[in-house]
Structures are given as C-alpha cells and as structure tokens.
Symmetry: C2
Subunit: 597 residues, 2 copies
C-alpha cells in the first residue's frame, strides 16, 4: 500500500466553469420547475395520497389553532394574527416548499423575538414579517445560504435552549396570573414573577398546572396493542393541545354561563378574513408618528436576528426530517421568504418551520405538501366559524400548552457531548445560553458566534506541530509535520514553537538536549499536508531554521507544495538545496554529509 | 524509516505549570533586571564602546533635528515639540530599551495619524502621547503582545505604503507652497494640490526639488576606496538631512539679511527646555472647553490605532535589526510605553522606533543604548542654543527631507511575492493600501485586518481534502485525508465535498462512477493528522458516510485521535466497527468481507 505517496492527486478540479454552470441552470426548464416544487409533485399526485394528506392536515391544524393563538399572545398580538400566520404561509409553502413534512407557521422563538417591537406598536409585527421575508428571499435568490455555516451547532443549540427558557419563564406570569410584565429576558421574567408572586390567582394556577399535567399524560398515552382503543388514544395523543384547550374553554364557558369568571380568558377575537394589503410602512407610537426609516431604526441591526432565526429553524427542521443530503437549502429559503411576505400581506406575524408541528405532520403520515393546504383550510374554518368560541379559552391553558412545548425543546444533553469532545465548543454553548438568558436572545446568538470566531482564531494562531522520532541507518532524525493552511496568525508563535520542539525533543525544558547522545540533529520538516503558507510565517520560519542550523542542526524541507517551495526560494535562495521531494526521505538523509559535520 | 507511525508522540507537554513559572519569574532578581536593561549593559560598559556610541549618537542626532522639526510640522505642531520628543524618549529608551540599534522619536506615520486631532487643539498631541504610552505599558505588563499577531505582514506592509503615500502627497502643498489644506488622506491631498496648483510658488518649488535631488545624490555618494575622501563622503551621506536643511537655512538667512524672503520659513521656535508636568486633561476647541471625557470621545476607537502602530513600528524595527528570535517583545513594549509617557510629561508628541534613524544608528556603529543618550544630548543642545537659527529653515527643504524618507518606505516589491504565493494575501494588501489611501490610514489597517479574518474564515469553511488512489491486493481503495482542527464552519461543506469526491474519483461530474470497473468502493478516511473535529461537522460527516454506505461504498475511519473516536461512537454507536487503528491499513481492508458484498 502506498497511502503516503506525496504525489497525491488533488481532486476537485471542476471542468465546467462556475459561470457556465450557472448559465446552464438558468436556461433549463427543469431548474425552474425545481423552484416551484408543486409543478413536480402535483402532476404525480395519487388518490392514495389524498387520505393521508387529509388526516395529517386535520391533525396538524388542530395543533396549529391553540399554538397559533398562544404564540400570538406571546408576541403581544391579537390571537387571530397567529391564526392568519398559519393559513396564508401554509398555502404558499404548499406551492414553493420542497419538504413534504415541514409545516410553516408562527413559532415560539420568533414570537419571543418579536415581542419587544410589538410592545411599541402592533404594526411592527406585519412589517417584521415583510422585511424578514424580503431578506430571506434575497439570501435565497443570491445563494447566500453559506453565511449560515458560520452559526455552529453549539450556538444553535444554546440559542434554542435560552429561547425556550425565556419563553417558558415568561409564561409563569400567565400560568399563575400574577401582575407585572412578563419580562424581555429569562432573568427578567423570573425576577418579575417572584416580585409579584403574592398576586397569584389560585384558579388560574390550578387550571394551568392541570393543563400541563394533562398534556404530559396525553403525550405518554399507550398507543400500542391495536384495536379501537389504541387508535383512539393515538389520536387523542396527537390532538392533545386542542383537547386540553377545548376542555379548558368548555369549563370556562360553563362557568361563564353561571356568571362565574374565575379565569383570565383569551378574550374577543376578531374573526373572519384579514384585510389584505401591503404592511404598514409608518406607525404611531404614543403621540408621535414614525415613518419607514424610523421604524427601521427601531429594528436596528438586532432586527436581522429574526430572518436569520427563521431560516435556521426552517432549514434545521427540513434537514432533520428529510435527511442531511436531501434538502435544497436555496429552495427552502425561497419558500420561507415567500411565506413571510405572504403573511405580511394578510395581517400575519413572521412564520417559519415549526419542529413540533412538523414532527406531528410526519407522524400523521403526510404524503405531499398538500397536507399543508388541508391544515390551512382547517385553521381558516376555525377562524371564520369558531372565533366566538375562542373567547372562552383560558389563558392559563394556553400557557400550559406553551410550557410543555418548550420543555421538549430545552436540551442539556448536548453539554456532555461537548464537554467530552471539546471544551471550546462547550464554552460557546455556555456563552450563548448565559448571554441569551441574561441579556437577550439576540445578544446570545451574537456572542456565541463571536466565541466561535475566537476559537477559530485561536486554532489558526496555535497550530499543532506533530513530531516523530525515527532513525535512518544510524542517524537519529525527527520529523515535524505542518498541516493545512498555515496562517499569518501563527507567524510569531509557530517559529518559536519549532525552536522549542527542536531544542528539546525528550525533555521540554532542557536547553542542552543537542549534546545528549540521542538528540536528533537531523530535522525533517514534513510539508506533505500543507496547503498554503502565508508570507509572514514563511519568513519567520526560514529565519528560525537558519538560526537553528547555526546551532548545529541540519534541516530538510520535505514535499512542500510547489507554491511554497517557490516562496521559500524567493525569500531565501539558499534554501534550494534543503527543499527535497520524493516518496521517501531516506535517500536525502543518507545523501547529507551529516556524519562529517 | 517509519515517519508515519500513527502513534506519533505529541511533544510540547509542559511539566511546570504556567502559574508556577510566573511565580518563579516574579521572584528572581534576574528577571527584574531584564526589565531595566541598563542594569545589565552599564556594568559591562567598555571605554571602547564610548567612541562608537559618541559617533553614532552625533550622526543620528544630526538627522533627528531636521526630521523632528519636519514631523512636528506634519502633525501641525510647533517645531520644538518634535525635538523634545527626540530628547526625553531617547533618554528613557537608553534605560529601558533592549535593542542597542533602535532610536526612538517622532515618526512620519504617527505624525500623520496625529494631525487630525492637533487640528482641533495642540493639547491632543500631549494627551495622545500620554494615553498611547499608558496603553502600550499596559499591553506590555499584561503580556498582551500576542494581539499584534493578528496584524499580518501584508497589512503592515500595505499600511506603511499607504501612510508613506499619504505623507508624501501631503508634502506637495509645502514643497510647492500652494494654498489650501494638505488633506487627511492620500486622495484628499492630491485633490487639494491639483485644485490649488495655480497658486504654486516658484522659489519654494525650486528649493524643494533641489533638496530632493541633493538628498538622493548624497545618499548615493560613493563611499568605497578608503582614504579621507571616502570618510568625508561617508559622513556627508549619513548627515545628508542636516546638510541639506543647513544649506537651505543658510541661503534663506543670507537672503533675509538682504531683505529678501522668497521661501516659507519654519518660523519662530520657542527654544530652551519644555515645561514639565502632566499633560493637559482638558482643552479649548473654538469657544468651548472639552473635559477629559470629551477629549477621549474625540479620539474614539480610532485613537487606538496610534499605540497599535507605535508598537508595530517599534517591534518590526527591533526584529529587523536584532534578528527575529533576539527581541524581547514585552520589554520593547514596556520601553516604548515609558518613552511615550516621558514624552507627554515634557511637551512631546508620540514617539516610537524610527526605521531610517535606526538604520543610520547601526551603520554608524552604535555599541550600546548609550548612543541614544548622546543623540538626546545633541538634540537638547540644538534646541537650547540653535533655536534662533531654526527660524530660517525653509519649509520646502523640510518637505524634501520628508518626501525622500517616504520614498524609501514605499514598497511595491512585496506585491509580486504575494501575487505568486497567495492571491488572498495580495487582496489583503490591496484592501489596506486602497482603503488607507482613500478613506484614512486607520480604516486601512482595520479593513486589512478584517480581510485577513475573512481569509481565515474561508480557509476554515473550505478545508482541502487530499485524496489518493491505491490498491490492497486486488481491491481498489481511495484514501481521503482530513487535517488539523476541522472546524464548525465546514460542517455543511465538508460532507458535501466528501460525497462529491467519493462519487467521482476520476471524472468529477459522472454520477455513475461506482459502476465503472476501476472506481474504488473501499474508502479510507485518514485521520492521522486531525487534531480535533467540531461536533456539528462530525454529525454531518457520519450521516453522509452512512448514506454513501447505503449506495454500496464501504468506509474505514483510520487512526483518528481518541477524542474523535469517542465522539463518533457517541453520535453513532454503529461506527465502532469502522474505527480502525494501527500503522497499516492493509490488514483492516483484507479483513473486510468486501468481495462478498
């Protein structure tokens, strides 16, 4: 086997130019059809699919209604906004979406991010959906999805955990019906809750906790064994959110009829269809009118976190359900962008893929994106026909629905994996969670990304030198291996490290190892796995090598790529005789007059 | 030879803890003496050194006087400020400096950076010296010199070139004595010059150009051959700045005695010693008084570029003259910091190592930092005794001195090296020069550093995969080698790339190569040179490998570090049987039931 042949072929040469590939792509009908996936799946639609899509759509719809209302309330919006945001994006996703399982609608995290803007004016919700949609569409069309690669898994996980913690903590206020605000961060929410804990309402608390217990029990309903009982418990488990909210609303309505109103209720919902039209580009906050520019400045740079999170959520979900390789990231971005623009045109809030509803959709056996259309119809029916019934939904039951949803998102198990594998990634995760919980979710994701960047810088500044002692004939040799792109950030450190490693191969702190009998005087700098060397590093490296040669060491630079060899010779022409190539270093070592030195 | 034994020992284990080493260091007298190098060289001073230091001190002093005056004028300060800044920092450097060659004083680049603050009030110069000194001292004491590692050679080179271009262009105004301002950037300076080109003064222009020609000729005086003539021309060449300025001043004084004043003159210099004391912590700009905080906000974050540049200049020079390994970076930072604090206490402007004067110092044969003391005395004598004579120095002659100094700094030769070695570094250089010349030097260095960061990110996001085809017995195999720290930024790209490389080892665009007779089905992922893998990459990599195995490929993961092996098994327990170790892959390949598949 000759795995280490230095004349390794480098693959990845692309015969077609990038521009040409792009041109081919733009001209083919097939690639345009890929951008509107309904043109691919609808012509192949089978009757068999219809039933599956129907069942899945109804199941997901029944969850979308309570969650839509709950998330609208999280953002501080009227309940119907959350429902509208399930309907129209759902229709659009069935046209442009490429993953059959994904269901689009308002999510807890987007709602939490939106809340502080909505506190100023409801109009910010619609504008946020519009701007997020435009930004996502733009990223998709310009194929800029790769910027998401710089948000690492620990940051995403930390962000999700911090968001779930904050959202759950903010629900404490509603769950126990205490006074005060729900707070803009996890810490805020906890402080507010404990500050007003004496204003707790017993009935709401009881209902809220009962809802949580009921949801957890329904989730764990035994569905095995077959038969009608199993089928009933399967459906009860899948529709648990709707069932719990329905039970709460029935109870509240029954008591209301008797003139008792022990719970805080969702309140009057403006049913019917939304007003269609462009989102508002100016708004009134307090006594002053903000124009478009002033609204933009309210969003600020932090506002960019909303489209970013929408894309991250949606693509992460698509990958989880479609398998890593099967997701067309560009198409998903186009679809989610279009969904948000659609939401904004129909009085909706920002929407994206929802993990729980997508999982439900798949479990219910959805066959095509038509399931999304059925779901939208179910929610549309509810908002037009049942709006009056929604009045009686107790807020504590909705809070229970949210808290249980958040419990399934919070994920501390990754901590162990990160801790074992890489303390740096663990720190990134911790920074994201702590900053996210204490200072706000936007700052969490930002600081997490910066922590990752710092890790990258550190890795570039402190590359590892692999060393290995070996013999050629009687001659003790040591090889020092450089790998990858040797970057400018290591220009000072790498030559110093080389000197330290060379000066003390056995005992790192003995400066006189050269005089010990087994210390190698012959050093092979192994460049087989070097991809590039920045000029500053090369200069310093060659200087140190020359200094070490003055101390009696002999260097060979083995199998560096051509570009590096040329650079070395340009910087120090005397290096020409030290640059050697070939599958084995032995002949070069034996060719040296090392014994005579 | 067994260079590739995978059980390579990783050197660099440090037996002493960092804290212990630090404690040892703090307790030893020797390490404290290293912080005050005069305690080391003065006791060993020899009479022989005295003459050498004396000659070098006078030579450098004669250059420091015209340059000091010129650079003070560049910053918009009274001429004596530039001289004070040569005197007191010179004395301090002789105490704390560790490199005998380095001479400290005002430099063209620092003056250019300072000019825009001095335009508001002269007090900013003294405060800038004080704050820069404190910041540099702090960086030195806290051993934070490593932050400079992130300023690459192309950025330093580009910054120096942009600065030299800007300073030279700004001198056009003085050289030709045109109206208008000298401009804050290279482009500005050129625009201003050409806008007012009709106001050119003939006599100043003639004198300025004559000075430049004289300086260039004196620089190239033949000094070989020995004898008195050679010695005279050597000294004339070294004292050329003083000679040219002296000639200009004599001419101007002679004409002045006859009542003719054809040149713009340096003007009245307040001679004698400066007022000692703390720098001003408040100042008056126009009609309003700025307190310390307001002065700080005038400097802003950009103000940090001054200490940064002071350190970079000084350390780059020390390294160039003392050899890469011989420079104690921390000590240089302490020395330069102390020099700047000293300058600020004695009405001086920011100072740092000067390349031209350091080169002159070495060429004149300086033996110890005492040369710096002699230089300081020469400048002190001049400012106390010759202040009245300085009145007659023509500004055009000073501009000539500056322009010639800048011509030696501008360096386009690096472009060819960068272009051949690395287009990315070339771009960094170009960004630094272009932004520096068009928008200001501070922005140049900032954008250059960001461009470097982008290169780092790109390298992390798009690591190279080395592939190699080989045979074990009859079995066609391909190895794919990962190296270094495999970072989160490649989490999406690397698995995609692996799939592409595996699917098409011979023709990158044939998706059916598996069915061609020579396409290897056995793939060895070579992890010998991997240092770490981020969790996100590992997850996606394992997913793609499992998908590829479904397509009929067989994978072996060879010699990954223990930490990675554990991570793989934790993520996908079924990978245990694929993780193989050992010096040769052959036995593992032959052990597979690949023929039967």
């Amino acid at each position: 086997m000759d795995l280490d042949d230095p004349r390794r072929p480098l693959l990845g040469h692309v015969p077609q130019s990038r521009a040409r590939r792009l041109a081919n792509k733009l001209c083919s009908l097939e690639s345009w059809r890929r951008r509107v996936p309904i043109t691919i799946w609808l012509p192949n639609y089978k009757l068999d699919y219809l039933l599956r899509d129907f069942i899945a759509g109804i199941t997901v719809g029944l969850t979308s209604i309570p969650q839509g209302i709950a998330y609208a309330l999280v953002a501080g919006l009227p309940p119907q906004v959350g429902l509208y945001s399930s309907i129209f994006p759902g229709v659009v996703y069935s046209i442009f979406g490429s993953c059959k399982d994904v269901t689009v609608g308002p999510t807890a995290i987007l709602s939490a991010l939106l809340a502080k803007y909505v506190a100023k004016s409801v109009d910010f919700a619609y504008l946020a959906a519009f701007l997020s949609g435009c930004i996502i569409l733009l990223l998709g069309v310009l194929q800029l999805g790769f910027v998401l690669d710089f948000i690492s898994k620990p940051v995403i996980s930390g962000f999700t955990t911090a968001a779930a913690l904050q959202i759950a903590a903010a629900q404490l206020k509603t769950l126990f019906r205490v006074e005060g605000s729900s707070g803009n961060t996890f810490i805020d929410a906890l402080i507010n809750f404990f500050k007003h804990i004496m204003t707790i309402h017993l009935w709401d608390s009881a209902l809220g906790i009962a809802s949580i217990v009921a949801l957890l029990l329904l989730k764990r309903l035994p569905t095995g064994g077959g038969g009608i009982l199993a089928a009933v418990s399967l459906h009860a488990s899948r529709a648990r959110n709707a069932l719990v909210v329905l039970a709460g609303a029935s109870l509240a309505a029954g008591l209301h009829a008797r003139g008792i109103v022990p719970f805080a209720l969702a309140g009057k919902i403006e049913g019917g269809l939304p007003h269609f039209g462009l989102p508002p580009f100016s708004t009134t906050v307090g006594n002053s009118t903000l124009n478009f520019e002033e609204m933009l400045s309210v969003f600020g740079a932090e506002g960019l976190v909303m489209p970013l999170v929408a894309v991250l959520e949606s693509i992460a979900i698509a990958k989880a359900f479609a398998g890593g390789a099967g997701v067309d990231v560009t198409q998903e971005m186009v679809a989610v962008g279009a969904c948000n623009v659609a939401a904004s045109l129909a009085q909706g809030m920002p929407a994206t893929g929802s993990f729980t509803r997508t999982a439900l959709n798949r479990a219910a056996g959805v066959a095509t994106p038509a399931g999304s259309l059925v779901k939208a119809s179910v929610v549309l029916l509810a908002v037009t026909l049942l709006a009056d019934a929604f009045y009686y939904i107790p807020r504590a039951a909705l809070a229970g629905v949210i808290v249980v949803a958040m419990m399934s998102i919070i994920d501390f198990s990754i901590v162990i994996t990160l801790w074992r594998n890489n303390k740096g990634e663990m720190c990134t995760w911790a920074v994201t969670v702590i900053v996210g919980a204490a200072a706000g979710l936007e700052y969490g994701i930002l600081c997490g990304a910066l922590a990752d960047l710092l890790r990258l810088l550190l890795a570039a500044a402190r590359p590892r030198l692999h060393t290995h002692l070996f013999k050629v004939g009687n001659i003790d040799c040591m090889s020092v291996t450089l790998v990858g792109a040797v970057s400018y950030a290591s220009a000072e450190w790498l030559p110093r490290k080389l000197r330290r490693v060379v000066d003390s191969p056995h005992s790192p702190h003995s400066p006189h190892s050269l005089h010990s009998p087994h210390a190698p005087r012959l050093l092979v700098l192994d460049g087989r796995h070097v991809h590039s060397i920045d000029v500053g590093v090369a200069e310093n490296l060659l200087s140190v090598i020359l200094e070490l040669e003055k101390d009696g060491y002999v260097f060979l630079l083995w199998n560096f790529p051509d570009r590096c060899r040329k650079l070395f010779q340009e910087l120090r022409p005397e290096f020409e005789r030290k640059l050697v190539n070939g599958p084995s270093i032995d002949q070069h070592v034996l060719g040296l007059d090392i014994i005579g030195r």
